[in-house]
Amino acid sequence: MRKNIKLILVVPLIVVATGCASLGVEPWERDLLARDEMSLNSTPIDSSLDDHIYFSKEASSGGKGFGGGGCGCN
């Protein structure tokens, strides 16, 4: 099960990495990508508050960014 899940995640990564040539946009095509809401972390304040809640209540943390220590809540 775990191997399969890793495969599911790793295969598209390789496909994406090797298929770079046909992906992407020219600089003048970044109108939508340049918007705040298209940023990968468009609401860092929300993310930081959420990370604190879920770090305290669940056994997992991080992934998107560092999930390290920081509080005695878990």
Binding site: I45, K64, C71
Partner: protein
């Protein structure tokens, strides 16, 4: 117009204060630009207040104040102050019983009782935390961006110090980015009442008796302990097309030191009747290796934006977890406030239990080296549903409101409950409300 002046004044005052704290002298520049939005060499401020409340358990308030300055050369300084206060009751790990139960407070000062049939909660949970983060980001060569930061967090009984660094390389017309980051945290835990001896019995009795303090001290192994967290994070970001961007991360973290929760116990119950014979302090390994894979995609439809992410995490405690998080931003135009939007949020999380998790131990059986009944490392699924509403006010300042419902549902991973435990709820669900207001200026 009056509002504008007030806001200008607030921003100017904050800029002045921040500049004074940092010993920089760009105040006049910032003042003149204070209403012109995101421009170089100005400060941007975000403030947020979050209220978190579990039914019958913990309530917390958390305030964040973030100041960000972008310099002429695109260097970015980010300073963040977080203050939170927490109060209420937290599960102590013991199972519910058909009779009243008595527990000693973690400090050793007094006892509390739990009603028959109720999940034992320690109601002395209370803490205030102050956290400071500083992060510096700058280009170090064409296509190379570096950033580094420091972290300090202090609670009454906990101190966390951290550093982090990250290097990113852009290529293929900046459509692709690879990054490598490193973080290190050193935490010191000094719980009131000291650290209990793992697997020793919780002392129950008359806390006013002459021998109590000595007897309680005999269950302790020291006043404080530390843990370190070292993490490496590798990332790959790829623009797919004009509407879509993706990110993939891999993280490897090792945590070493005191990983036990000194406030948690585990019930030792009779194998036939299910009645508690003893409550012993939990015991966890002194190291944990966690890894995770994270994938995120954002897609811009004609006007809406879909943000979907998935995380798979696994560790050497045999916990693995799946997290799906999605947000969908729906612009409402100017009908419900300037450039207003609604953003529904849905998150689903599911974890398996740590190999040493047990909801209770059976009296007379050999004691395991490690045992914890903390539901947070047991089998569990949680979900969050929420809605955010945002709009622009006062010359383009963002104001948003977020309301969410969070449910934690621990599940039975196949432990056979003896006797009385069959009739009791060993895996109670926990419902919480999250409310947040954010204002950026």
């Amino acid at each position: 117009m009056k509002h504008k002046n007030i806001n200008t004044n607030i921003k100017a005052a904050l800029t002045l204060a921040t500049a004074a704290l940092l010993g920089t002298s760009n105040v006049s520049q910032a003042e003149t630009d204070s209403n012109s939005g995101v421009e170089e060499n100005t400060w941007e401020f975000d403030s947020a207040f979050l209220f978190y409340s579990e039914a019958d358990r913990v309530s917390a308030g958390e305030a964040i104040f973030n100041a960000k300055k972008t310099f002429v050369g695109d260097e970015v300084l980010n300073l963040k102050l977080t203050i939170d206060a927490l109060t209420g009751a937290s599960a102590n790990g013991a199972v519910a019983q058909p009779t009243v139960q008595t527990f000693t407070r973690p400090s050793g000062n007094g006892q509390y009782t739990v009603t028959a049939g109720d999940t034992p909660l320690d109601d002395t949970f209370q803490d205030t935390r102050v956290q400071l983060n500083a992060q510096w980001t700058q280009a170090i060569a064409p296509n190379y961006t570096a950033n580094g930061g420091v972290h300090i967090s202090k609670e009454y009984d906990y101190l966390s110090l951290g550093v982090n660094g990250n290097l990113a390389f852009d290529f293929d017309r900046k459509n692709s980015t690879i990054s490598a980051g490193f973080s290190y945290f050193q935490d010191t835990f000094t719980p009131e009442g000291g650290l209990p001896q793992a697997l020793s019995s919780m002392l129950i009795g008359d806390s006013n008796s002459a021998t109590w303090d000595d007897d309680f001290a005999n269950t302790r192994i020291g006043a404080d302990d530390t843990k370190t967290t070292t993490e490496v994070l590798l990332g790959f970001t790829q623009v797919i097309n004009r509407r879509m961007i993706t990110q993939f991360n891999y993280s490897y973290a090792t945590v070493d030191g005191y990983l036990t929760d000194p406030f948690k116990v585990i019930s030792v119950v009779d194998g036939v009747s299910g009645l508690t014979q003893d409550n012993i302090y939990e015991s966890r390994p002194d190291s944990r290796v966690k890894q995770s894979l994270y994938a995120q995609a954002l897609y811009h439809f004609d006007s809406t934006v879909l943000d979907v992410s998935y995380r798979y995490m696994w560790d050497d405690w045999k916990i693995d977890s799946h997290t799906i998080d999605t947000r969908f931003r729906i612009p409402l135009g100017d009908a419900f406030g300037t450039q207003s939007y609604l953003q529904p949020h849905f998150r689903f999380y599911q974890q398996s239990a740590a190999e040493f998790y047990q909801p209770f131990l059976i009296d007379g059986a050999a004691l395991p080296t490690y045992a914890s009944a903390d539901y947070r490392i047991g089998e569990m699924s949680t979900f969050t549903v929420g809605l955010k509403y945002g709009l622009l006010v006062n010359n383009g300042h963002d104001l948003s409101f977020r309301l969410e419902y969070y449910r934690q549902a621990p599940t039975d991973a196949g432990f056979e409950a003896p006797g009385a435990l069959k009739e009791l709820d060993l895996y109670p669900t926990i419902d919480a409300i999250i409310a947040q207001v954010t204002y950026s200026f």
